[in-house]
């Protein structure tokens, strides 16, 4: 007797050979850590977006045809508005469950972007983007950009005053591009802003183009995770050659399946209790009004902030063409720098490290001080811009002068990331020194013992093997060194200048460092009982594995960063 489920499975297996794939996949091992669930939040909020978005398309009318409102919202009775806005109001007030679905969709969008950023931070700070995962980092980065595009196009669809103001800013940025700007604007809006073509166009972008691309790239992203296997945190028994964890079935099927419902539940809870984007308060779009406190959704706020910080009047006129640097710098150069730095970082770091090996064990952030400090300074710069985008609300809520806030943030945009970089780097180095200290001396025990001779000592408890391994497992990374400019016969070597540049970058990354305790140091500390005469760490010329032969590792002793 076979059960119906088994019969169905057998039917499929005989025709598709699915059984082998399921068997293989079900036994695939994944490491376990809460931070590996951050990407899942993004995936599940995207599924939530697809479900709620499908519902919304049933009722939303993407048209800029003008109609007169005669629905239940009294404050808009008899107001002329576009069909897009009217259908958004109908969705909110007349369609059963419509307002809940709109709010689910919008909250899910905010959570989607927030979880992408959080997931990206985890990947960045643990070095999960290193070989062989650089390409998947780029795929993830593209997903971030597509998420911004999806968010912005959806935010603009209801055709309300607030989102229309956002569109007007985008139009202004587009027009700021020299020569092609105004043509681009006319092309995008199908004539003079706002025109009547934009909402239908944005609709296609928002419900077909961008989600289709996101879906495809999410598939690729996950496929590449399976292909390269998941990274794991350092720990005893975990190496670059194994994966320590649990099989997909039943552990992760249960965990991940359950987590989907938690994500959906949290979003639904927010949507049911907290209002979001009340377009009926903003009114139908009309280019003349702008209300106080007009801001984009949080993930675009940094661009608004950059525009708010930029001093006006920085315009250059070249042969009758105005180059409005006051728009181009904040709206194109600043995000350009932020995004390029983010996308290119894995490649820059690999270049500076001279490392061509595969890495499957993650870094502890403290063990890569430059990377951690760089990531924190990027985040600080982003946060300063977000604050700048909220400057009017900070002014009203904290009773400050908006002019003072703007001036403080103008300086902070340059000073705060630099300060954050230095502080973070120093903290990482200090934590590494603390690790060395604990490995060599053990944990402080708090117990004071007095010898017969009258001497007092504090008893230190030695680390167990697992604790010690976490603190000593990583390899020290030293700056690349340049081979001499001339070979043994006095001939100038090709590529010397490039090597020099690369070595300079490498020093920037790794000159300040604290190296992990070596077995020799540990043995010395245990046998002597005193640590004043430690033997120097093994040093000497080491060829960097897979690197250029002309670049060799620095032979400076560890702890030069002191």
């Amino acid at each position: 007797m076979t059960s119906p489920a088994a019969a169905t499975a057998d039917f499929l297996d005989q025709r598709t050979g699915l059984g082998a794939a399921v068997k293989e996949f079900a036994r695939k091992v994944f490491p376990d850590h809460w931070s590996f669930l951050l990407g899942e939040i993004a995936l599940y909020s995207f599924v939530t977006l697809l479900i709620s978005g499908t519902f919304l398309t049933m009722f939303f009318v993407p048209s800029m045809t003008e109609v007169t409102y005669s629905g239940p919202w009294a404050s808009l009775q008899g107001t002329r508005m576009s069909e897009a806005f009217a259908s958004t109001l109908r969705l909110s007030f007349e369609v059963r469950g419509g307002l809940l679905m709109r709010q689910v969709h919008h909250w899910a969008a905010l959570i989607f972007m927030a979880s992408i950023i959080t997931h990206m931070m985890r990947v960045f700070f643990t070095g999960a983007f290193r070989k062989p995962r650089e390409l998947n980092w780029v795929v993830g980065f593209t997903l971030l950009i597509l998420g911004l595009a999806a968010g912005f196009s959806g935010y603009s669809l209801p055709d309300d005053v607030l989102s229309g103001n956002g569109l007007r800013i985008s139009d202004g940025v587009l027009r700021a591009v020299p020569i092609i700007g105004s043509y681009g604007s006319y092309f995008l809006f199908g004539g003079e802003f706002p025109g009547e073509a934009l909402i239908p166009r944005l609709f296609t972008v928002h419900i077909l183009l961008v989600p289709g691309l996101i879906l495809a790239l999410v598939g690729l992203h996950l496929f590449m995770v399976v292909l390269a296997k998941h990274t794991q945190y350092p720990g005893s028994g975990r190496t670059d050659r194994n994966v320590v964890g649990f099989p997909l079935f039943p552990i992760y099927v249960a965990k991940a399946g359950g987590f989907f419902f938690i994500v959906f539940g949290v979003i639904a809870l927010m949507a049911a209790t907290m209002q979001i984007n009340p377009v009926w308060n903003y009114g139908p779009y009309d280019p003349s009004p702008v209300s106080a406190g007009s801001q984009p959704d949080w993930y675009m706020l940094f661009l608004d902030g950059a525009l708010r910080l930029m001093p006006g009047g920085v315009e250059v006129v070249i042969a009758n063409f105005t180059v409005p640097l006051n728009v181009l710098i904040p709206a194109m150069v600043v995000p350009g720098i932020l995004f390029t730095a983010l996308a290119a970082y894995p490649f820059i770091e690999a270049y500076a490290t001279g490392d061509k090996r595969e890495h499957h064990v993650l870094d502890r952030p403290r063990n890569r001080p430059f990377r951690t400090a760089f990531g924190v300074s990027l985040l600080v710069a982003f946060f300063v811009l977000v604050l700048a985008g909220s400057n009017d609300l900070i002014a009203t809520h904290f009773h400050l002068s908006i002019n003072d806030i703007t001036w403080v943030l103008r300086f902070a945009l340059f000073i705060a990331p630099a300060a954050a970089f230095m502080v973070t780097k120093r903290m990482c180095l200090a934590l590494q020194r603390r690790d060395r200290e604990i490995v060599l001396h053990g944990h402080e025990h708090g117990t004071i013992v007095r010898f017969e001779s009258g001497e007092y000592i504090e008893v230190h408890q030695p680390l167990n093997e697992h604790e010690r391994w976490i603190r000593v497992q990583h390899e020290p990374i030293r700056p690349l060194q340049v081979a001499p400019a001339e070979d043994s016969r006095g001939v100038r070597r090709k590529g010397y200048a490039a090597d020099l540049r690369r070595a300079r970058l490498s020093r920037l990354f790794y000159a300040d460092r604290v190296e992990p305790v070596t077995p020799a140091e540990l043995a010395a500390s245990h046998s002597h009982g005193t640590h004043d005469e430690l033997p120097p760490a093994p040093s000497g010329q080491e060829l960097v594995a897979g690197g250029r032969r002309s670049l060799v590792a620095d032979d400076r002793a560890p702890g030069d960063g002191h």
Partner: protein
């Protein structure tokens, strides 16, 4: 016609022409000018007297005896009863301290005293009077017209639903949710502090009433749950991170802690 041709080069002709033009302009202006706001003459002289005493004791330090103004504060001659009722009735006056702007605080006088002060200031020169209950009745206004007018005239500073907003150098447009209809009307009429004056030519009495009808509907319960201050996407983003990501990270840590 011949007389005109013969005398138009007379040396007195330009003078005559100028006089005629002046008389004509003045006459047309006198005909077309809106009737000046006249202080309500209902105030008794006893009220004016007690108002003057209150003024001398509480206001004259800055506004000068006789309310003619000093270096510290403007003259109040001609500001009318409406301005006094707004400034004193919302607690802005007497001012607590100097700063970017004079802020509302608990009202310092009772209704009779405010009326007396208003009567005294109104007696100094004609100015806008306190609106009647009928003029500020939200039930007689149309909130839809009010919302359209609010969007084009008020939302720039006070936010789309009157939650308030920031102005330059620490000044701000306050939230309108706790403001009484009478004070809303008086503010539009007299333009306190940074606010422009919306006179009868800019917003008619009916239009002011429409705006009051719209504003008095705001600040209460909104469809869709907690309004998060009605200040737009910044607070929404903040709560998405604090509540949404907060709960989800908590759940992730909980799930991650469940086996390893």
């Amino acid at each position: 016609m011949n007389w005109l041709a013969a005398h138009r080069h007379d040396r007195r002709a330009p003078l005559l022409l100028l006089l005629t033009a002046l008389l004509l302009t003045g006459g047309v202006y006198a005909l077309l000018v809106p009737a000046p706001a006249v202080a309500a003459s209902t105030a008794s002289s006893a009220e004016v007297d007690s108002g003057m005493k209150l003024f001398t004791a509480n206001c004259a330090t800055c506004h000068g005896t006789g309310a003619t103004g000093t270096a510290a504060a403007p003259s109040l001659v001609g500001v009318g009863a409406a301005a006094v009722d707004f400034q004193v009735g919302t607690g802005r006056m007497p001012a607590q301290m100097s700063g970017p702007q004079v802020e509302a605080k608990p009202v310092q006088f009772d209704q009779d005293q405010i009326a007396a002060l208003a009567a005294y200031v109104a007696s100094l020169g004609p100015g806008p009077s306190i609106p009647t209950g009928d003029q500020v009745d939200p039930a007689q206004g149309d909130p839809a017209t009010g919302m359209a007018l609010f969007r084009t005239n008020c939302a720039q500073c006070h936010n789309a639903v009157g939650a308030g907003g920031s102005l330059s150098q620490g000044k701000f447009a306050p939230s309108l949710w706790q403001t009484t209809p009478t004070h809303l009307y008086e503010a539009m009429l007299t333009g306190p502090q940074s606010m422009p004056v919306f006179n009868q030519a800019t917003l008619t009495s009916q239009e002011k009433r429409d705006i009051i009808a719209f504003v008095s509907e705001q600040g209460g319960t909104q469809p869709g749950g907690l309004s998060l201050g009605s200040i737009g996407p910044v607070s929404e983003g903040l709560w998405a991170w604090v509540v949404g990501l907060g709960l989800l990270l908590g759940a992730a840590v909980w799930i991650g802690a469940k086996s390893s």
